[in-house]
């Protein structure tokens, strides 16, 4: 069975799904991601789906569940690069991916994760010096 590689960059985990996943591969990715979040104390997860030309209800559910599990483990998830035809089809299918943050590309996704991390740091320590 294929396994989707997970890259660690600072406190973020990066995944780029480049293959048409079967359901078992998708479930394995979900399990691997949650394990890696805990192992690396990750605060952010970025999932690039720009190579996926189909997202059906199973993959959609995997993305939503991963985001929900990550949230419980104190990490934020951003899904990036969804193709327009996939977005149109997902909504017609009835899947709105509520609770999943999205960005147009990897760059904007990383920016969003950084912003979320900064906002949280600020909330935790409102008097801290802003050095950015």
């Amino acid at each position: 069975m294929e396994r989707i590689p997970i890259l660690k960059m600072g406190r973020c985990l990066l995944v780029s799904i480049q293959v048409d996943m079967d359901d078992r591969t998708a479930m394995t990715l979900q399990d691997d991601l949650t394990a890696q979040i805990v192992k690396h104390h990750a605060r952010g997860v970025l999932i690039d789906i720009s190579s996926l030309d189909v997202v059906d209800s199973f993959i959609g559910r995997m993305l939503a569940n991963t985001a929900a599990m990550a949230r419980i483990l104190d990490a934020d998830t951003v899904v990036v690069g969804m193709q327009p035809s996939v977005a149109i089809t997902l909504v017609e299918l009835g899947l709105s991916l509520k609770g999943v943050r999205s960005a147009l590309d990897v760059e904007r996704g990383m920016e969003l994760l950084r912003k979320i991390a900064n906002d949280q740091a600020e909330k935790a320590d409102p008097d801290a010096d802003q050095e950015e």
């Binding site: 048409d20 996943m21 079967d22 359901d23 078992r24 030309d53 189909v54 997202v55 059906d56 209800s57 199973f58 559910r61 193709q83 327009p84 035809s85 996939v86 149109i88 089809t89 017609e92 299918l93 009835g94 899947l95």
Partner: protein, 137 residues
């Protein structure tokens, strides 16, 4: 109505669902579907193929490339010998599931198709036919 060509694929494992998606994509491109039309029919096929595995004990998909002189299209038949669907309106309702899914498969596949037909009876399996025509939204 002329059936230009037809092919049958076995649908018994999640790897074969991937095969269904790839075969439907290939035919959808040959028929001349737009990218959105391709994505819709491939997604519908993926839902129905998975349903056959989850609820029908696996089955087969028959693809037909259609040409009725005016329009070109793709018709997909999903046939299993499973327990059948006792209550079709309930099964078509979003959120209804007897398995572990989200209950979007059947209703979603119907919305993504131009024509949708279901023939089923308890103990007699399920035969679902979807059709998508090029240029029909």
């Amino acid at each position: 109505m002329q059936i230009k060509k037809s092919e049958t694929l076995s649908v018994r494992s999640s790897a074969e669902v991937v095969g269904v998606r790839q075969a439907v994509r290939k035919w959808a491109i040959e028929v001349g579907f737009s990218l959105v039309e391709q994505t819709k029919v491939v997604t519908a096929a993926s839902e129905l193929a998975r349903n056959m595995i989850d609820y029908g004990g696996g089955g087969a998909m028959r693809m037909e490339a259609l040409d009725d002189g005016l329009r070109r299209g793709l018709r997909l038949h999903f046939e299993d010998q499973g327990p059948g669907i006792p209550d079709i309106p309930a099964a078509l309702r979003d959120g209804f599931t007897t398995g572990g899914g989200m209950g979007l498969g059947l209703g979603g596949a119907k919305r993504l198709s131009n024509e949708f037909e279901i023939r089923t009876a308890p103990g007699e399996g399920t035969h679902i036919t979807i059709t998508r025509w090029k240029g029909v939204s």
